[in-house]
């Protein structure tokens, strides 16, 4: 893999930041299309984060390793979106949650379950799917092939 995929932490060079690098969004979503959720891990303070980025948000270090994330996590907070934007109206109401993965990385995502069926602490598992036609209509040109991460109660 071009860019950074071997997990070794070192500062990224500009020429490595291509659309194949998981430190860029196209590279991150390409890996997600292959079913791999990649994150960054800070060599300085161990913070994990999704998507990978060239610097650690917790301490600012640029010694970042790219690592595949666990698919398992837990709901930290959740809500039910009664009135989403038009792109998502067909699926309303949506259950959306902040998930903490077992790596410690946190991200926001949809939960494929009714709001009543989950709660803070519910274990969930990552799934990945293509956008629906309706969602693709609202995607920007460069996002059409980017998949969506959705969590399912484990």
């Amino acid at each position: 893999m071009a860019g950074r995929g071997d997990g070794s932490p070192k500062r990224v060079r500009p020429e490595e930041l291509t659309a194949e690098s998981p430190l860029t969004l196209p590279g991150f979503f390409a890996a997600l299309s292959d079913g791999r959720l990649l994150g960054g891990r800070c060599d300085e303070c161990e913070q994990a984060f999704v998507p990978p980025r060239p610097a650690c948000y917790a301490c600012g270090s640029r010694e970042i390793a790219v690592e595949e994330q666990p698919r398992e996590g837990t709901i930290v907070a959740d809500t039910e979106v009664a009135r989403p934007a038009p792109a998502f109206a067909a699926d309303a109401p949506l259950t959306i949650a902040v998930i903490e993965l077992d790596s410690g990385a946190r991200l926001t995502g949809r939960v494929a379950a009714d709001y009543e069926a989950v709660e803070i602490g519910t274990p969930v598992e990552l799934t990945v799917r293509e956008l629906t036609d309706r969602e693709k209509e609202f995607a920007l040109d460069h996002e059409g092939e980017w998949p969506l991460h959705v969590f399912e109660p484990a």
Binding site: V76, V81, R83
Partner: protein, 388 residues
Amino acid sequence: MPEPVILSVGASPVGESELTGRDLFSVALAEAFADLPDPAEIVDALYVGNQSESYEHQIMYGTLLAEWAGLRHTPAERVEGCAAAGALALRHAVRDVRSGECDVVLACGVEKMTAGGTAGATDALSAAFDRALEQRSGITAPSQYALLAKRYCHETGASEEDLARVAVKNHANATKNPRAQYQSEIDAETVLDSSYVARPLKLFDCAPVSDGAAVVVVASAEAAETLVDSEETVRASGVGAGSNNLAVAERDLTFVEGAHRAATQAYEEAGIEASEIDIAEVHDAFTVCEPLLAEAVGFAPRGTGVQCALDPGDRSDGWSDVQVSSSGGLKARGHPIGATGLYQAVEAYEQLTGRAGDRQVEDAERALLVNEGGVADAVTVAHVLEVA
């Protein structure tokens, strides 16, 4: 170092207006300059807080408002940090005066949110979220704050009724504010019976979609002396600003660290403690924000923020006597996004100069303003204002 003061303010009524953004600005400017020389005679720079080009399909709001004020060649620009845009404009004005670069600077804010309807506002506000993971998941502004509310209630034991009381208090305050969008009292049942927008938040937990514009005239104390009596000025004695991660998931969900840092910096610059603040306008875009911010800026012990809805005498130990959101807050005064930070300054100016009419807080001498952008503290700007 020149001392920055606010010497005049103006603001349009908040609500759904037939006027466009530039017209709302004209209203605010006419009020602010009713007793001042023409802007062209005294103003050195102009900053405009404005959230979204989508409402009016208009960028270049710096130049546009400069022209509309008769400031054709004056340096002018738009600043944007979503809902913190107004206070970012104010911070520039304060800093340009402090540095000696300018004598008089206009901090302006304008938003005509109703131009695109509720759907347009929902979409325009979602642009403030991280595109990669947040926006694409279909999350909305109320649901972002609902995540905070859910977790806050989970950790502190606060109830939906506790949150509702924040809205009740702010509606009551707004009845005395002639500029407020909602000048009607509500009770907790009104909030609790309103429909869920994003559980646990209901319609009446949310600030409305609003049109409005505000102007704050900042000057050096020396320049101000030549323009107004000293009792008409308010000192801008402290400013703080900072960012936090864009994605809510990557922040502390129950402690608004960005607001804590910004307020702390503002207190330090002003040389005061949180307990010395008499009045505060904080960013209650949703009811849960007010307790979160009360804790983050040092008014309340952790977990007791919902007591912001109580009279100072009824709060538990450790709480300050601050009066929060005498204007009615974003919830009831209204929330024209890019102007909100300046409406906060307008309220504090009127309170500190004794012009707040029926809603005057007695002996108000020091005010804290907290204006946030993005979801909660993705960017925060805090100002301390004090009587001259």
